[in-house]
């Protein structure tokens, strides 16, 4: 059994357990991806992540109905979709059209104001369910340095700024107090230090895997297989299972490289997928292997584990967590961070071509893409833009898109 299968099985068991806990009436939190999940994990508060739930709805091909309903509810057609799909599905009140038959009302909501829409979407959730909303502020970084992937790992105090970190720490403490009230349990600070240390260990292992794949002569694992292997442990980061799985994942990748087991033995074009997943059509990632020897060897999820999560604790794990989340989403999308990171990753992975998902209705993800495109082209990478959406398939014409990408790859 491959470790991706093992991760999938673990996730299915975990999801069943989570669903049973939630359906059994246990309080749970509904949170955005760029919030401090570590606090919820450490206090054993069941948690559903907005973007994970959104991807799940899309993967089950349930999104078109919700987006049609979104228009009927009066929300205009250019509003963001990835972060709003779960809300719309919930407001639609047709549980049979949602995974698990829908979610019960959460006990707490948590979002970060990284993008204008997040507080609005979560406010609507709060009004619909009565759950209190915890908002994290997201002040901009005045002097963004391009090399965040190196600089922020250790000297994050200087990188993110003391005042910004003071603010985020204070807001984390408010969340901790709320969860103490919700659970009736105190926050174990010593245990949290050990937990944060375990997360760093896990992310270092995943960083080794990213290095292995980058250095391998050919791609040993498709991104469709990388994603569950890295993201499922990420949802459980710092747990014994997650660390053990990360080790198994590393060993499997190393073994494939030793045995020269390549995804596409006739690999001729190495590609990167830029942006979040195409959750309603993940098989698209393999569409060009046979025809062009073109393999997606890179997506952001694997390398971001190390670059985005490792933050030396310097004796203050809550502050290290503040450093981790204080620009997490921004580093994935905004200049100069995204372009500098793309170029670093493209070079070390010997990338020939990049497919760039440009979600025009999710401005937070869509803006900055032309800087990344420019930087990659300057670095010798061919960039193909794909105007689509992570979770809305209504305008997706797979045949046409395969033809367009094939046309670009034909010229190789």
């Amino acid at each position: 059994m491959t470790c991706a299968r093992a991760a999938g099985d673990y996730q299915k068991d975990w999801v069943r357990g989570l669903r049973d806990r939630i359906k059994g009436g246990e309080p749970f939190a509904f949170v955005n991806a760029d919030t401090p999940h570590e606090i919820f994990h450490h206090m054993d508060v069941p948690m559903v992540t907005n973007q994970w739930w959104s991807a799940l709805i899309a993967a089950k091909q349930l999104a078109p109905h919700s987006f049609d309903r979104m228009a009927e509810m009066g929300y205009h057609a250019h509003l963001p979709r990835y972060s709003s799909l779960p809300l719309i599905a919930a407001l639609d009140a047709e549980p049979e059209r949602q995974p698990w038959g829908g979610l019960p009302a959460p006990s707490l909501l948590c979002a970060r104001q990284s993008s204008d829409e997040h507080q609005k979407i979560f406010q609507l959730w709060s009004e619909a369910t009565g759950a209190p909303l915890h908002l994290f502020s997201a002040p901009g970084i005045p002097d963004p340095q391009p090399d965040w992937f190196d600089a922020a790992r250790d000297d994050w105090e200087a990188f993110y700024g003391t005042e910004r970190l003071d603010l985020t720490v204070a807001e984390i403490e408010v969340l901790i107090a709320a969860l103490e009230d919700l659970t009736g349990r105190p926050f174990d600070r010593d245990g949290f230090a050990a937990y944060m240390d375990a997360i760093d260990r896990q992310e270092r292992i995943i960083g080794e895997i990213a290095d292995l794949i980058a250095a391998a002569p050919k791609c040993p694992m498709r991104i469709g297989e990388q994603m569950p292997n890295v993201m499922i442990p990420q949802w459980h980061r710092g747990s014994d299972w997650a660390i053990s799985h990360a080790e198994a994942f590393r060993d499997e990748v190393a073994g494939r490289i030793d045995r020269k087991e390549w995804v596409c033995p006739d690999e001729r074009i190495r590609m990167m997928w830029i942006g979040a997943g195409l959750w309603f059509d993940t098989s698209f990632y393999t569409a060009f292997e046979e025809s062009h020897g073109a393999v997606f060897t890179w997506s952001m999820y694997l390398p971001f584990a190390a670059d985005g999560y490792i933050r030396a604790d310097h004796g203050d794990p809550v502050r290290a967590l503040a450093a981790r989340i204080s620009a997490m989403n921004e580093q994935l999308h905004q200049p100069p961070w995204i372009n500098a990171w793309m170029v670093r990753e493209a070079k070390r992975n010997r990338i020939d071509a990049a497919l760039m998902l440009v979600p025009e209705h999710d401005r937070f993800s869509g803006l900055g893409t032309l800087f990344a495109k420019h930087a990659l082209e300057e670095a010798g990478v061919k960039v193909i833009e794909i105007r689509s959406d992570m979770v809305d398939p209504r305008d997706w014409d797979r045949e046409a898109m395969v033809a367009r990408v094939s046309g670009a790859l034909d010229a190789w």
């Binding site: 929300y75 509003l79 200049p335």
Partner: protein, 363 residues
């Protein structure tokens, strides 16, 4: 023949930042959230750089980096920056909590960093967060200190010594603007004259308004109209509303929220608290306070007109609930959909017909 006060106000409005000739150092401000008094206290003149004059030409160096779904104001600013519209300014400040402010700042910074645009006026990001918690206030005060240092570097003066006087001047300007709002002038006139102050010194602005009001013509009576939408600086929309009734509550970012949003407090602490806790800001937290404030302010209108910029991501989430809340109070909301960049006659005529029908005003 000397230029009248009304003509001077109209000229300042039309010319925007590009036409503002000042003796004092000019500080460009992109987006609402930075109290003008902080800039005037430093001996400089704050000038809005978000709104473009007519006829901005796309710059070929910038165009390849502007996504088609970028906020229009941010895109227009970048093209103007490339064209040298702000050469000679002492500095440019961007309000992070403005819906387009962070994008405009990041793109300008990056276009310079990668060598597409040459260096020019220093850029500064102003992170005033819109809520009332103690940690946020501490953070906002640290941002004020950072701004003070920026102004000292760029204009030669910080804002602390001159703040008391600057707040008094702003208070007089606010009085003048409030008298303007009560003068019963056509919406287009009031909109133009009030916003002209974004490109005038506050004392000049107050004086010109006082002089101009006396010579102005009052609007004709009609239903009381409320307006809510994304930022728009186009008077054509106001001309159309003037044909229907009296615009009483204008809550789009270039509406009545300025300069009132920058008033308050006898000192720096009070001023920062007042701006941070003003609920009429889309990013105001707790998250529900913005819509609650909109509902309260619009509840006495006969009809509310709403629109959105094509790629906005804030107001669109509030509009259905706001419409429902107002409908429950008997106030119809006419959602005009996406506002074109330059509303043409057909669009305006169709909008007018819909508003007239909702307000029961025959053509």
């Amino acid at each position: 023949m000397p230029e009248s006060a009304a003509e001077r106000l109209e000229r300042a409005f039309a010319a925007k930042a590009e036409g503002a000739v000042m003796d004092a150092p000019r500080i460009g401000i992109f987006g609402d959230g930075l109290p003008d008094a902080l800039v005037t206290a430093a001996g400089a003149v704050p000038l809005d750089i978000k709104a473009s004059p007519d006829g901005v030409r796309p710059d070929p160096r910038v165009a390849p980096f502007v996504e088609p779904f970028m906020d229009r104001f941010a895109a227009g600013f970048l093209h103007r920056l490339a064209a040298g519209a702000f050469d000679g300014f002492a500095g440019l400040v961007f309000a992070r909590d403005d819906t387009a402010g962070l994008t405009a700042y990041q793109y300008a910074l990056e276009l310079r960093r990668i060598g597409i645009l040459p260096d020019g006026p220093p850029l500064h990001l102003w992170n005033l967060l819109h809520t009332d918690s103690a940690p946020v206030h501490r953070f906002n005060m640290s941002e004020a200190a950072r701004l003070d240092a920026f102004l000292s570097d760029t204009t030669g003066h910080g804002f602390r010594e001159g703040l008391e006087h600057a707040l008094e001047v702003e208070s007089r300007r606010l009085d003048a603007v409030e008298r303007l709002a009560l003068a019963g002038l056509p919406a287009r006139t009031e909109f133009t004259w009030r916003n002209a102050g974004r490109w005038l010194g506050p004392e000049d602005h107050a004086g010109l308004i006082a002089d101009a009001i006396g010579a102005a013509t009052a609007s004709s009576p009609g239903p009381v109209i409320g307006l809510i939408g994304s930022a728009s600086i186009d008077p054509a929309l106001y001309d159309m509303l003037d044909r229907i009734g009296r615009l009483s509550v204008d809550l789009q970012p270039y509406g009545h929220v300025w300069p009132a949003a920058h008033a308050g407090g006898p000192d720096l602490d009070g001023l920062i608290r007042a701006v941070a806790t003003n609920p009429l800001h889309p990013r105001a937290a707790p998250a529900g306070c913005y819509r609650a404030a909109l509902t309260e302010r619009l509840a006495n209108c006969d009809v509310v007109v709403a629109y959105c910029a094509p790629h906005e991501e804030t107001l669109g989430w509030d509009l259905p609930s706001l419409s429902a809340a107002l409908a429950a109070k008997g106030v119809p909301v006419v959602d005009l959909g996406f506002l074109p960049a330059n509303p043409h006659d057909d669009w305006l005529a169709a909008a007018e017909a819909r508003i007239r029908a909702a307000a029961r005003v025959p053509a």
